[in-house]
């Protein structure tokens, strides 16, 4: 039985700010640029936006969470003077931007607003990303911090090492996924590495961060904001561009022992219930998906999503991404825009926008032929997040 509200809400416009690294331009300026671009893309006045939703948290250690500087909350837009008619807003405290998207969908179905702006603003601070000072660990961290396991890259490295050992994979095989993403980014003007190519050798010779993860297995921190405008499908059909319909949307709700984030089976199994819900609600299965936008804050997450979603069997994802299968003309094009690895660390927002562009035939040089249904998975399967199936209007 499909979701009763399947395809009743659509994404009507998308907008990017510039994508920069370290910059003296305030983050608020990036946010306003992306909102203006999204409104223009939808063909509406900026001031007709009356709903706001975001997941604002700055995801790096040492963030100050100062509005307009390293985060952009709804307060920022409410106090901007640009959006005088807002009737509804939401600030997601858990999950990622998929939660904010879900909130906006609910608000539109309930009639709480007519045009909802959903954005994700990311800030890359000066210096080494996520660098922090501490002399003590409390809470969950007391069981991992004292041994130097202090953040996501180490959780992922530990999980992925076991994956490689369990299934007999070779760390260098990941180059196929990472280089494919870079090729796609080279076809995308909205990518930090738009103009920079990468060879298999570039991947394999990059410095090790946390073995087996090398530099290009980690997404590139950027300062940028990406926004979308959601409205009802009925309303969206009268706007500038064809609507991209939300066939299903969901959140990852599996809980795991919070201190143990490095068990690979948990990564894959945590994603499976969300994937089942998305297929059921949309009334499509993995075989009907024309492209997959898979979260790749660290490259192994994309492999885990392939397995959690049923695109391949357990332990088969590293083989799956070899050859032509995931290229733009392959059986399942993956991260057709470059992924977070090559577009920039936009926390899944780039993945959502790309699904919209693909199902509306607006992906230009990287357009996948006949992209009728595209899935998005946001977050590494077990660290919250969510997903959606976005389809062409018929």
């Amino acid at each position: 039985m499909t979701w009763e509200h399947s395809c009743k809400v659509a994404i009507a416009g998308v907008g990017f700010s510039n994508i920069e690294r370290r910059t003296s331009t305030p983050l608020g300026s990036f946010a306003i640029d992306s909102a203006r671009a999204a409104a223009q893309d939808a063909g509406i006045e900026l001031s007709s936006i009356d709903g706001l939703a975001t997941y604002p948290a700055a995801p790096f250690a040492g963030a100050r969470n100062q509005d307009g500087r390293d985060v952009i909350t709804p307060e920022f837009f409410l106090s901007s003077g640009l959006l005088p008619d807002v009737t509804w807003y939401s600030q997601a405290g858990a999950g990622l931007v998929a939660t904010a998207m879900r909130d906006a969908v609910n608000a539109l179905i309930a009639g709480a607003c007519t045009y909802a702006l959903v954005w994700r603003a990311m800030y890359a601070p000066p210096g080494v990303y996520g660098r922090a000072r501490t002399r003590s660990f409390g809470g969950d961290e007391q069981f991992s911090g004292p041994w130097g396991v202090t953040g996501p890259v180490q959780w992922h490295a530990l999980a992925y090492r076991r994956y490689l050992e369990q299934y007999g994979g070779d760390a260098e095989s990941m180059a196929a996924l990472v280089v494919n993403s870079r090729r796609n980014a080279n076809l995308n003007d909205h990518a930090y590495f738009s103009d920079k190519e990468m060879s298999l050798d570039d991947y394999a010779s990059a410095r090790m961060i946390s073995d087996p993860l090398r530099l290009f297995d980690c997404d590139v921190p950027v300062t940028a904001c990406v926004a979308v405008i959601l409205t009802t499908t009925e309303r969206a059909r009268h706007l500038r561009n064809p609507p991209a319909l939300l066939a299903s949307i969901g959140q990852q709700t599996v809980t795991n022992p919070p201190a143990v984030r490095y068990v690979v089976d948990d990564h894959i199994e945590s994603g499976a219930p969300l994937c089942r819900q998305l297929w059921r609600d949309a009334g499509v299965g993995p075989s009907e998906i024309d492209a997959a936008q898979l979260y790749d804050g660290f490259s192994p997450s994309a492999l885990y999503w392939l397995e959690a979603a049923g695109f391949c069997g357990r332990g088969e994802a590293l083989d799956f991404v070899q050859g032509d299968t995931i290229t733009l003309s392959g059986r399942l094009p993956v991260n057709t825009f470059g992924g977070s690895l090559s577009q920039g660390r936009l926390h899944g927002m780039g993945h959502i926008v790309e699904a919209v562009l693909q199902v509306t035939d607006r992906a230009r040089r990287r357009q996948v032929d006949g992209a009728d249904a595209v899935c998005v998975f946001d977050g590494s399967p077990m660290l919250r997040g969510g997903g959606m199936v976005i389809v062409r209007d018929r």
């Binding site: 660098r131 000072r133 041994w147 130097g148 090492r161 410095r207 961060i209 946390s210 201190a259 490095y262």
Partner: protein, 89 residues
Amino acid sequence: MSGRGTLFSWSTNFHSVLNAFDAAAPYLCVLVELVEQPGLILVSDFAGDPVENPGLRIGMPMQVAFQPTQDPHIVLPQFRVDLLDEDQA
């Protein structure tokens, strides 16, 4: 607790994001599944060469060792390959 377990996973960290670990990098973190209970996994580090980690493999027997810290009241467990058990295996 017997202080024994098996190697569940490992990773050598070359990149320190915390000032407290700058001097330690590269350092080898391990996950050890304790023999007392399946799924009981401890985060620890490895008493051995972090870069050359010779022949580590999942399931190899591990034995706790205790390392003093700068704080005389705190002792942290770390693990080394359990050579006795390795010979018997």
